[in-house]
C-alpha cells in the first residue's frame, strides 16, 4: 500500500481449496490391493509352482527348467524365427504398401490380392500348408521359368535351365517353411500398417520435396517414410510382440527349434505340468519386456520435431506472443 497506482493491484493469495472427494476411486484401489495380495499369496505359498524346479534344478544334476540347454536352444530358435520372419514381413510389407499406392492398377491389384490372401488364411493353417508344400515340387531352384515348356516349344525334351536347385524336402521343411509362412503372412499385415503410415503424411510434404527436385525414391526415403514411421512404429511393435508368440505355431510345420515345443517336451517327459507352463510365461514376459524397451527408443527417435518438449516450448512461445513477449522462455528457445 505504498505507491500503488489504481491499475496496479496487490496480487491475491494463491487459491487453497479443498479437493473434490472421489470415493469410487478409493474403493477400486482397495479392491485391486486385495486382489494383488491374493495373487502374491498364491505365488509364494502354493507348492505347485515348484520354483526350485523352474529356477534351480529340474532334475538331479541339471539346471532349472528355464536355463536348461534344450530350452535355451528353443529360445534361440524363437528369437531367430521372430527376427527373420519380421525382416521378411517388413521389407515385403513396404514393397507391397508402395505397390498398393501406385498409379498403375495392375500393381495395385496384385498388392490387394496378396493382402487379401494372406490375411484371410490363419497362420496356423499357413504353417501346416508350408510344411507340406514339398508335395507340389520335387526340386526348387533359380533359373529360366517354364524351362520345360519353352524347351518343348523348340523341340528339346527335358530342357533344364536351372542354375541352382535344391531338393524341396530339404528347403521347404522345418525352419525355412515356418519362416516363410510367418514372414509372408506378416508382410500382408505390415503392408496395411505401412500404407496407413504413408497416407497419414500430409501430401504437401511430398509436393514440397518434389518441387525441390528430389526424385521419387528420395521423396519416399527422406521425407515421407521418416514421417510415416511415427504412425508405423507403434503397431509394428504390436506385430513383433505378436510374432514372438506366433512362433509357437511352427510346431505344426513341424519345427522343434522353438521355445514352447522344447518346454512341452520337458512337460511330457517329466509329467510336471504347471511349472513348465510358468517357465514359458516367464520367458515370453522377458522377451516382450526387452522389445517394449526397444520400441520406446524407436518411438523417441522418430518423434524428432514432434516431441512433447518441443510442443511445450511452442505453447510457451504462443503464450509469450499473446502476452506481448513478457514471458522469457528458457534459453529463448534457441539452442
Amino acid at each position: 500500500m505504498t505507491d500503488q497506482t489504481p491499475t496496479e493491484r496487490a496480487r491475491p493469495e494463491p487459491i487453497k481449496a479443498v479437493p473434490v472427494r472421489r470415493p469410487g476411486r478409493w474403493v477400486l484401489i482397495a479392491v485391486l490391493a486385495v486382489l494383488t495380495a491374493m495373487f502374491l499369496h498364491v505365488l509364494f505359498t502354493n507348492d505347485q509352482f515348484r520354483w526350485k524346479f523352474i529356477f534351480l534344478s529340474y532334475e538331479p544334476g541339471k539346471r532349472g527348467v528355464l536355463f536348461t540347454e534344450p530350452v535355451l536352444e528353443g529360445l534361440r530358435g524363437t528369437l531367430l524365427l521372430t527376427v527373420t520372419s519380421m525382416v521378411i514381413g517388413v521389407v515385403l510389407g513396404v514393397i507391397i504398401a508402395i505397390m498398393r499406392l501406385s498409379d498403375n492398377w495392375i500393381l495395385r491389384g496384385v498388392a490387394f490380392l496378396y493382402t487379401w490372401f494372406f490375411r484371410a488364411v490363419p497362420r496356423l493353417v499357413l504353417c501346416v500348408l508350408f510344411g507340406n508344400l514339398n508335395i507340389l515340387w520335387s526340386r526348387v531352384g533359380f533359373g529360366l521359368p517354364f524351362d520345360h515348356q519353352i524347351g518343348r516349344l523348340f523341340g528339346i525334351d527335358d530342357l533344364n535351365a536351372q542354375f541352382y536347385s535344391i531338393k524341396a524336402t530339404d528347403l521347404l521343411a522345418g525352419f525355412v517353411a515356418g519362416m516363410l509362412a510367418l514372414g509372408l503372412s506378416e508382410a500382408a499385415y505390415m503392408a496395411e500398417i505401412v500404407r496407413a503410415g504413408i497416407q497419414s503424411v500430409d501430401p504437401g510434404q511430398g509436393e514440397a520435396a518434389t518441387a525441390l527436385g528430389l526424385s521419387r525414391g528420395q521423396v519416399l526415403r527422406r521425407v515421407v517414410l521418416p514421417q510415416a514411421m511415427r504412425v508405423i512404429v507403434p503397431p509394428t511393435g504390436n506385430e513383433v510382440i505378436a510374432m514372438v508368440k506366433d512362433t509357437s505355431l511352427v510346431a505344426f510345420v513341424p519345427v522343434t527349434f522353438e521355445l514352447f515345443f522344447q518346454l512341452n517336451a520337458i512337460k511330457a517327459r517329466t509329467f510336471v505340468v504347471f511349472p513348465v507352463l510358468v517357465a514359458a510365461v516367464i520367458w515370453y514376459l522377458v522377451i516382450c519386456t526387452v522389445l517394449m524397451i526397444g520400441q520406446y527408443f524407436l518411438e523417441r527417435h522418430f518423434g524428432k520435431g514432434y516431441g512433447s518438449t518441443g510442443r511445450a516450448r511452442q505453447r510457451l512461445r504462443d503464450i509469450e506472443v499473446e502476452q506481448g513477449g513478457r514471458i522469457v522462455a528458457e534459453g529463448g528457445g534457441s539452442t
Binding site: D202, G204, Q205, E207, A208, A209, T210, A211, L212, G213, L214, S215, R216, Q218, R222, V223, P226, Q227, F302, K304, G305, Y306, G310, R311, R313, Q314, R317, V321, G333, S334, T335
Partner: protein, 254 residues
C-alpha cells in the same frame, strides 16, 4: 535468346469434368515480379502448380526460360519427360507453399540443406555454410537448430523461402505465401520477398496482399473463372481497372 522467363500459351487444365484453366496466356519477363490476383477458385494456384509440372496441363504449353515444361518436342510430337528430367527442371524453379510444408522431422538448417545435398550432391560442409547464410539472410540465423514445430508461422515461411533459394533457382513461385499467417506475422514474410525482388529474382506471386502487389509487382494479373480477365502494371489494374469483374473483386478486398 529470349528474356521471357515464363511463357504460357493457351493453357487448359481440367480435373475430371471440371475445367479449372480455360486458356491462360501469360508472359513473365526475366527479373520481373508478376502478382496474380483473383477470387478463390479462379485457378491461380492451379496455374502456378502447372508451371513446375506439379499438375499436368491438358492443352497449350508452358515454357520456362525457353524450355517446354514437362515435355520434349521432337519432330512436331510431344514426348513426356522422364521423372529425372522433370526433377532437373524443377531444381531451377523454387516454390513456396501456403502451408509452408517444411519437413517437420528436420531442423531449419537440415530443411535448407536437404535438396542441395541430395539433389545436387553438394558436399555437406559447404551446403551447411550456405544454408546458414540463407537463414541469416531471411533473419533466422539464430533458429538454425530449431524444428519447424518450434517456430512461428512467419518464421516457418521464411525458412521455406530459404529452402527454395538453396537450389539457386532462376524463378520463384509463391502460392499465397501469407494466407496461413496471423496478421502480425505477414509483414516479416513480405519483407523477405521484397528483398528478393530487389535483388532481381523473377517471381510469380499468387497473393491476396493488394498492397504488396501494388508496391512490388511489375505486372499484375487478375484471374477469374479460369481465364485472365485483365493484366498490366499495378497502376493500371489496381488503381484503374477496366473490367467489371476486376472492379468488383478489388472493391471487396481493398
Amino acid at each position: 535468346m529470349t528474356s521471357d522467363m515464363v511463357r504460357a500459351e493457351n493453357v487448359h487444365k481440367s480435373f475430371g469434368s471440371l475445367e479449372v484453366l480455360k486458356g491462360i496466356d501469360l508472359v513473365v519477363k526475366s527479373g520481373e515480379v508478376c502478382c496474380v490476383l483473383g477470387p478463390s477458385g479462379s485457378g491461380k494456384s492451379t496455374f502456378l502448380r502447372c508451371v513446375n509440372h506439379l499438375e499436368k496441363i491438358n492443352a497449350g504449353k508452358i515454357l520456362v526460360d525457353g524450355d517446354l515444361v514437362g515435355y520434349h518436342e521432337r519432330g512436331g510430337k510431344l514426348h513426356e519427360m522422364k521423372d529425372s528430367e522433370v526433377a532437373r527442371q524443377r531444381q531451377q524453379i523454387g516454390m513456396v507453399f501456403q502451408r509452408f510444408n517444411l519437413f517437420p522431422h528436420m531442423t531449419a538448417l537440415q530443411n535448407v540443406m536437404e535438396a542441395p545435398c541430395r539433389v545436387k550432391k553438394e558436399d555437406k560442409a559447404g551446403a551447411r555454410d550456405r544454408a546458414a547464410g540463407l537463414l541469416d539472410r531471411v533473419g533466422l540465423g539464430d533458429k538454425k537448430d530449431s524444428y519447424p514445430g518450434q517456430l512461428s508461422g512467419g518464421q516457418q515461411q521464411r525458412v521455406a523461402i530459404a529452402r527454395a533459394l538453396a537450389m539457386r533457382p532462376k524463378l520463384m513461385l509463391f502460392d499465397e505465401p501469407t494466407s496461413a499467417l496471423d496478421p502480425e506475422l505477414v509483414g516479416e514474410v513480405l519483407d523477405v520477398m521484397k528483398d528478393l525482388a530487389r535483388d532481381g529474382m523473377t517471381m510469380v506471386v499468387v497473393t491476396h496482399e493488394i498492397g504488396f502487389a501494388r508496391e512490388v509487382g511489375d505486372t499484375v494479373v487478375f484471374m477469374d473463372g479460369g481465364v485472365v480477365v485483365e493484366q498490366g502494371s499495378p497502376a493500371e489494374i489496381i488503381a484503374n481497372p477496366q473490367q467489371e469483374r476486376t472492379k468488383a473483386f478489388l472493391s471487396k478486398v481493398l
